[in-house]
């Protein structure tokens, strides 16, 4: 989707640009007249001889327009080349060297970036006098800084990549690392930078020429507009053939560069739809699909023959599972086994590229796939709470804890302020946090505390079902056990049905009533936790259980 769009943008930009450059190169062949010759009466309207009329001294405007492409493109491209070259070298050196070199260079870059571009070019341009080379110099000298800043940022981030750090750890020197690893990594970014610089340079040239700072002997599109302005052409009908064409020419040129730059940028940033391309293996275990008979009972979560596909790749294949009230079921599998897709499908939060192609998910008796957006919304939070991965970044950084919990409380119920505040305090106590924490922002809390807040949010509207996707990922070992114990306690106290998704079998086997094992999109085994651990049926489960190292403690250490 996005791929084809960025390709279409790139094609449109590229084709236009090639056309423009061809026109510029072939100007003497294409133009009907000599650009400096006075070939008609001044201010002539368009006619067969002069399709765009003539200017104030009788020169053919079409000829001027065609030759103008040469100057506009020349100034733009040469200035951008110079700026990109200088900016890239400076940015790469500063980013790689860091320390005082970087500090000094970046101060300079900041200064140049903080100066207003056009007034700066005007002032320099006026003092250096008119002329093409002056213009190129002036434009290049103000736009290199943006490229330098961008490249430096890129090099700084490349520096932090593990594979570059690994080279240093191996003893690699700048002479080895910079040309062989850092430059190739940032090189793809130089192209869009150059394209952007060209776009800026062409617009700047037009503005300078318009203000009368262009080379009057080499007329660019900007110069044409400057003359049109000076002769007040835009106050007469002449605007149609004197003002519109050069402006359109500039806009089309700049747009073609912008489209190219945009396409480059989009390619570097794949959209959500493109990111979930991973397909699980296709090992056929179908004959042995265990699972549970579909029960119509009042279980909060019933997954029945669920099949989910990303485009053509099947991520979840005829999955069956149910979770009863006060039951904690762990869904275990490797990355890519489809377990997170099951979790997402159960809350109606599948990524856009995924589709349920078969079976159904019943949450509190309602078929999630059959619900409209509004019904789904009223289901979420109210009946089913979600604890997503990445506890460290799951809270909105600019809102207080209390605000975020309160939002979850009031999403489904109208309540007075005092009641909301009381409920927020109560929820914080439930997850063993002090009610005063409501006033804090997420960055003031540790990872474990944030995960408790996330759990409080999931509990806010009093759901019957909780889905926790890797609830301990990213947490300190000491905190992991606490969070799991908290979940375990909650389902007993609140009779919650909980589905915990995890890649770590030992982490969940202590608190789970039953364990479901997924592999390559299919459920390979499900059963009581003790049985799965003691005598796994499926070979894959057996491998999983046996491969897991466990702490063996001598008697002395156990309590």
């Amino acid at each position: 989707m996005t791929g084809t769009r960025s390709r279409r943008f790139a094609t449109a930009g590229g084709v236009t640009l090639v056309l423009l450059i061809t026109v510029a190169l072939a100007a003497p062949l294409l133009a009907p007249y000599d650009p400096s010759a006075r070939v008609g009466t001044p201010f002539a309207s368009p006619s067969g001889a002069h399709p765009l009329g003539t200017n104030d001294i009788g020169q053919d405007l079409l000829t001027t327009l065609i030759f103008g492409a040469r100057i506009s493109l020349l100034v733009g491209i040469v200035a951008a080349l110079a700026a990109t070259l200088v900016g890239t070298s400076i940015g790469v050196v500063a980013g790689y060297a860091r320390g005082w070199v970087d500090a000094a260079v970046m101060r300079l870059v900041d200064v140049v970036l903080a100066l207003p571009v056009l007034p700066l070019t005007i002032v320099i341009g006026v003092f250096l006098g008119p002329g093409l080379s002056t213009q190129i110099l002036v434009i290049a000298s103000v736009i290199w800084a943006g490229t330098a800043r961008e490249l430096r940022a890129q090099v700084l981030s490349v520096r932090e990549h593990d594979h570059i750090q690994a080279l240093w750890a191996m003893g690699g020197r700048a002479g080895h690392v910079l040309p062989r690893h850092v430059l190739p990594a940032v090189a793809p970014l130089v192209v869009p930078q150059f394209v952007l610089a060209t776009k800026t340079a062409i617009l700047l040239e037009a503005s300078l020429a318009f203000l009368g700072l262009g080379d009057i002997t080499a007329k660019s599109w900007g110069t044409m507009l400057s003359l049109a302005q000076a002769r007040s052409a835009f106050l007469t009908d002449a605007w149609l053939w004197w003002v519109v064409p050069p402006g359109v020419a500039i806009a089309v040129t700049v747009l073609s560069f912008a489209l190219l730059a945009y396409a480059f940028e989009e390619r570097a940033r794949p959209s959500l739809a493109d990111r979930f391309g991973g397909s699980p293996g296709t090992a056929d275990l179908r004959s042995a699909v265990p699972g549970e008979p579909p029960t119509s009972g009042g279980d909060p979560l019933v997954i029945d023959e669920l099949t989910v596909a990303y485009r053509d790749a099947v991520a979840v294949d005829r999955m069956r599972l149910r979770v009863a009230p006060a039951e904690l079921v762990a869904l275990v599998g490797q990355s890519g086994s489809g377990k997170s897709t099951v979790a997402a499908a159960s809350t109606g939060l599948l990524p856009a590229a995924a589709r349920i192609t078969g079976g159904r998910v019943l949450v509190c008796g309602q078929d999630v796939a059959a619900l409209g957006p509004e019904q789904l919304r009223s289901l979420r939070g109210d009946r089913v709470g979600l604890i997503p991965q990445e506890a460290m970044s799951a809270l909105d950084p600019v809102r207080t804890i209390g605000d975020q919990i309160a939002e979850a409380v009031t999403a489904h119920r109208r309540m007075g302020r005092a009641a909301v505040r009381a409920r927020v305090g109560e929820l914080l106590s439930v997850v063993s946090l002090h009610p005063d924490r409501a006033r804090d922002y997420p960055h003031q809390l540790s990872g474990g505390m944030r995960q408790r807040v996330v759990i409080a949010i999931a509990l806010a509207a009093g759901p019957e079902l909780l889905i926790a996707d890797e609830p301990t990922s990213g947490l300190d070992v000491l905190v992991q056990a606490e969070v799991l114990d908290l979940l375990d306690g909650l389902r007993r106290r609140l009779r919650l049905a909980i589905l915990v998704v995890s890649h770590d079998l030992p982490v969940v086997e202590r608190i789970a009533d039953r364990i479901a094992v997924m592999h390559a999109g299919q459920l390979v085994e499900i059963g009581p936790a003790g049985r799965i651990r003691a005598e796994p049926d499926h070979p894959y489960t057996r491998r999983l259980v046996e491969a897991t190292p466990r702490l063996r403690l001598p008697e002395a250490a156990s309590r």
Partner: protein, 333 residues
């Protein structure tokens, strides 16, 4: 402690830019080929005898060494002495003070409009990235951004002033009007320049807002907020847009620079009596002292806008308000 150091660091940054701009301003006439006096007097030096030229040099202190000149240049600045305009034969400062309010009004209104409109469009486009609506908005804004500001202005005049006659095409105030009519005249004459300036500066803000919104929508906290069952509108405004604003706000620098540059050409097209039009006139008349003064003023203005954004940023981001600085994220342009 470290907050103070950070604040001092930022202050130092501003002082540095100011000093650099001022020094550049001082040096430019000296870097240019020929004699500064030639520049001070434009093309009129031919009429002067060598003796008279020397006299002029001495009267401007140009016979002194460069360091001394630099020193007296600064001393003059501190006294508010920016020299005398050649074209107006009046102190540069006085000319600038007369023109400044018009530009402030123009740029101020256009900044608010461009910021609001650009952010809104960027957020709307990013909300369903890759959709028809997104492609449409992006193409439209990119096309708009590709048009030179002065050209947009010329077209608006041709269409709305000449062909339709809705708005006056030049000036800032009606000449013969007072009371309410005067204000109506001022407002009427602001419409087209403000529209031009807004349209011409929309692009960079839009692209920034769209990129920022896109990355915010990928964040885990958006997923959590959605799982609460709140409305999509609330999610978009209170969580996504609110966070997406942060980098847009910190990068206001770029936008203000664009706007000021835009003001120069837009005021020229509309013969608007602000600093921008004055710069154009100074270029035509080769009024160097005025040009230098204007450049200095514009730089100070841009820096002041940045300083304002800097000082008010903590109101938007609690992370810098209370604890140690978190570098604001800057997505690639």
């Amino acid at each position: 402690m470290s907050r103070l150091r950070r604040a001092l660091g930022r202050a130092g940054q501003y002082v540095l830019v100011l000093v650099a701009a001022t020094t550049l301003n001082f040096l430019l006439p000296h870097l240019a080929p020929g004699d500064p006096v030639t520049y001070r007097y434009g093309g009129q030096t031919a009429a002067l005898t060598p003796e008279q030229l020397d006299e002029v040099r001495a009267s401007y202190g140009l016979d002194a060494g460069l360091p001394e000149q630099y020193w007296s240049f600064w001393a003059g600045l501190v006294r508010g002495d920016l020299g005398v305009s050649i074209g107006y034969s009046r102190p540069v400062l006085a000319v600038l003070a007369e023109r400044l309010p018009w530009t402030l009004a123009l740029v101020g209104v256009a900044t608010l409009l461009a910021f609001g409109l650009g952010t809104l469009l960027g957020a709307v486009a990013a909300w369903r990235r890759g959709s028809r609506r997104d492609v449409g908005i992006v193409t439209g804004v990119l096309a708009l951004d590709a048009m030179p500001g002065f050209w947009v202005g010329m077209l608006l005049i041709s269409v709305f002033s000449v062909e339709l006659g809705w708005f006056p095409s030049y000036g800032a105030a009606a000449i013969t009007a007072d009371g309410a009519a005067e204000w109506v005249g001022v407002a009427q004459r602001m419409v087209l320049p403000v529209a031009t300036l807004t349209l011409a500066s929309l692009g960079s803000i839009f692209l920034l807002a769209r990129a920022s919104m896109t990355s915010v929508l990928d964040e885990a906290f958006i997923r959590l907020a959605r799982s609460k069952g709140i409305s999509e509108r609330r999610l978009a405004v209170r969580h996504a847009l609110r966070n997406a604003l942060l980098p847009v706000y910190t990068n206001l620098t770029l936008a203000v620079g664009t706007l000021v540059s835009g003001a120069v050409v837009v005021e020229t097209v509309f013969a608007y009596p602000g600093i921008g039009r004055m710069i154009y006139e100074a270029v035509i008349a080769r009024d160097y002292p005025l040009l230098q003064g204007a450049f200095l003023l514009v730089t100070v203005g841009v820096l002041a806008a940045n300083l304002l954004a800097d000082l008010t940023y903590p109101l938007l981001d609690p992370r810098v308000r209370r604890s140690e600085a978190v570098e604001a994220r800057e997505p690639a342009r």
